[in-house]
């Protein structure tokens, strides 16, 4: 019967079920006498824990002791009525004095002041090719009767005119009369009719657009939403491209110049490596420039936030593996990933350090590449290299001894990769290596 029976767990103490059984009969007996059984059952069979409304909190209508209140059936008149109809209603009479004053609802009897023009005025100002005198008169008459409810007026008029046309005629006539009757144009310029005239074309267009949207099917709605999203994306992309362009123009020239200077300081026959070297930084320089431009646009930002943005920008050109290697090197050098005391100088130094590590990694890649080339020469896979493999090998061995030096930070990776890589079976000049460099680089970043 019970889940507990099935599981074999002993039932709980018998006192509980007894309590449960005794409670319902007690409850139904305990209902108060004031309310019926069904109503009481609405509350769930139990009295509410707390009274929902505290009777003492309700406001009491104060009645002064000396006043005597009676109610009388008295006649009354209303200023809103033009006839003298007398109606009767209950009136609260205080001490035998009936209340005075107008019928309290008479103040709501408002009407619109429709302009009435004379014949003269019509001839002078209100002539319109599309409207005859009769039509205009009818329009105004109906406007007065129906309180400017143009939809009704449109129905009432015998000739078919759209609501917008009626409005247009009415407002332009009123406006013309206003201006004509005004003592000077300045007086009326504050009037809303004069300030913002009714624009028929705009209104018709607006209503048409509204009705179109209203009657759009779901399918069309979805399509519209998609188009909007795409437009937004295009706009954003355009903005981003523009911002990047603006900030790229200046820093690239200075950045490129700075790097070229540093290279020339070292050795003269660095020239083949120069073009290769310059190809790497401008990508990240553009990124950092656009990152710093977007930071400058913020009115205020935290140094740590700015730092993170710059780090992301600087490592945007590098693949995930490269970033991990940079972080590994940072760790080995004993530098915190995120500076504990991020002052301006500390952050700048850290960013410079990261850039330098990227440069170092780049150089290491080039180095291995060169080595691979060298080894391909050594294997003599083409007839053009008959001589002096020995001297080459010596140089390579010499170079190999340098690699253990660099194992002090993450060098194991370098050695492994060297063994993994196959030599390209193509003779490459130093000058054409940049061309080959690029496909290589792409491969690395894909890793």
């Amino acid at each position: 019967m019970d889940a507990k029976d099935i599981l074999g767990i002993p039932k709980t103490t018998p006192s509980l079920p007894h309590e449960k059984k005794s409670r319902p009969p007690k409850d139904s007996q305990r209902k108060p006498d004031g309310i019926s059984r069904e109503v009481y059952a609405l509350t769930g069979g139990l009295a509410p824990l707390m009274p929902s409304i505290d009777v003492n909190q309700l406001k009491k209508k104060t009645q002064a002791e000396n006043e005597k209140i009676t109610w009388q059936w008295l006649p009354f008149t209303s200023s809103a009525r033009k006839d003298n109809l007398q109606l009767y209603h209950w009136v609260r009479v205080v001490n035998g004095v009936p209340p005075t004053g107008d019928y309290s609802f008479a103040k709501y009897n408002k009407s619109i002041d429709v302009i009435k023009y004379t014949d003269e005025e019509y001839e002078k100002f209100l002539e319109d090719p599309a409207w005859t005198r009769e039509e205009t008169d009818q329009l105004f008459d109906l406007s007065a009767r129906f309180d400017l409810r143009f939809v009704v007026i449109a129905d009432k008029l015998p000739y078919s005119r759209t609501v917008e046309e009626l409005k247009n005629r009415y407002y332009s006539v009123s406006r013309a009369i206003l201006i004509a009757r005004a003592a000077s144009p300045a007086d009326v310029s504050g009037h809303p009719l004069v300030k913002e005239p009714y624009n028929l074309a705009q209104e018709t267009e607006r209503k048409r657009a509204l009705s179109m949207i209203l009657s759009q099917s779901k399918h069309q709605e979805r399509r519209d939403a998609e188009v909007y999203a795409e437009a937004k994306k295009i706009m954003e992309a355009r903005m981003a491209a523009k911002a990047a362009q603006d900030s790229e123009l200046i820093p690239i020239s200075t950045g490129g110049a700075g790097d070229a200077e540093r290279d020339n300081v070292n050795v003269d026959d660095e020239s083949p490596s120069n073009p290769q070297f310059l190809s790497a930084p401008p990508i990240s320089i553009a990124e950092t420039a656009s990152a710093s431009a977007s930071l400058r646009k913020l009115r205020v930002y935290l140094r740590t936030y700015g730092f993170e943005q710059m780090v992301q920008a600087a490592s945007s050109s590098a693949g995930l593996r490269t970033i991990k290697r940079v972080e590994q090197i940072l760790q080995d050098l004993g530098v915190n990933m995120k500076p504990k005391v991020p002052t301006k100088t500390v952050c700048e130094e850290h960013l410079e350090l990261r850039k330098e590590i990227l440069t170092l990694l780049n150089l290491q890649k080039q180095f291995q590449y060169k080595e691979a080339e060298g080894s391909s020469y050594r294997e003599g896979s083409y007839p053009e290299t008959p001589g002096t493999p020995k001297s080459f090998q010596r140089i390579l061995d010499q170079d190999r001894t340098f690699i253990p030096d660099s194992t002090c930070f993450g060098g194991e990776h370098i050695v492994k990769r060297d063994q993994k890589r196959k030599a390209p079976g193509r003779p490459t000049d130093a000058s054409s290596s940049p061309a080959n460099k690029r496909p290589r680089k792409l491969k690395n970043t894909d890793e």
């Binding site: 005391v341 991020p342 700048e348």
Partner: protein, 251 residues
């Protein structure tokens, strides 16, 4: 009607930016940086601790050298855990701190509102309130609090003229002026002077953040990396030379 409201909005924007008659000029090559420290200090209440109130803690934002932040920050709003009464607490004047009693750890959102001439947008920081120390779990001392502080700097990249004039000579606020060209020659217009720590009951627990340690580590690291770069470059150039000579020989 649309044109009228658009120009009114523009005019409103302008009047917000400047209190004086001239429109506020923003200085493009000046950067104002306010070093701050924010964090929590929490004391165990010992014998007086109850189930719901076992610790008394204070969350605060202070200048890094204990200088007054009132020149830059107008008010600070601390957003506490919803189980607190009125979890949104605003502190309108320095010292920007808030003390409470509680039993649980949670993340506090600290929103800084700046004076109008500094910035009209607020900035929010997050800090995790730590009540229990990591070492010797279980043993807590009434006298030794758990202190967690973080250092950061509020950067105003394009300060307005008024703001800059106001804080130029403030002891706790750093201003950096960069040369008009893209190259950064950073001069510190103001060095953060050692201001005598104002009497604050908790100032004995404040940590001192100095950049010297990190700077020296970074400089050493950079030197190492640069050394390796130079070595590699030399190797590469010599290899290139060899390759060229080999190719020439082969031809």
């Amino acid at each position: 009607m649309k044109n009228a409201s658009a120009s009114a909005a523009e005019r409103g924007e302008d009047s917000n930016n400047h209190n004086s008659k001239s429109p506020a000029k923003r200085l493009k090559d000046v950067e104002v940086s306010v070093p701050i420290v924010y964090g929590t200090i929490s004391f165990w209440l010992g014998k007086k601790a109850t189930e719901t109130q076992s610790h008394k803690w204070t969350v605060y934002v202070r200048g890094a050298t204990n200088a007054d932040l009132g020149a830059v920050v107008k008010r600070v709003v601390f957003q506490l855990h919803p189980s607190f009464n009125n979890p949104v607490r605003a502190v309108e004047s320095p010292p920007f701190e808030l003390s409470e009693c509680g039993w649980g750890e949670f993340e506090i959102a600290i929103t800084l509102y700046f004076h109008a001439d500094a910035c009209d947008k607020p900035l929010t920081l997050f800090h995790h309130l730590k009540l229990y120390s990591e070492d010797e779990p279980g043993t807590q001392s009434i006298k030794k609090p758990v202190v967690v502080e973080s250092y950061d700097e509020i950067v105003f990249p394009d300060p307005s003229e008024n703001f800059f004039a106001r804080v130029k000579n403030h002891p706790a606020i750093l201003s950096y002026v960069s040369a008009p060209l893209g190259l950064h020659s950073v001069e510190e217009v103001n060095e953060a002077k050692e201001e005598e720590t104002k009497d604050h009951p908790l100032s004995q627990w404040f940590k001192n953040f100095s950049e010297g340690d990190e700077l020296s580590k970074l400089a050493a690291a950079r030197q190492q990396v640069q050394g390796h770069i130079v070595k590699l470059r030399n190797q590469l150039s010599s290899m290139n030379g060899q390759l060229e000579s080999v190719v020439i020989e082969c031809d």
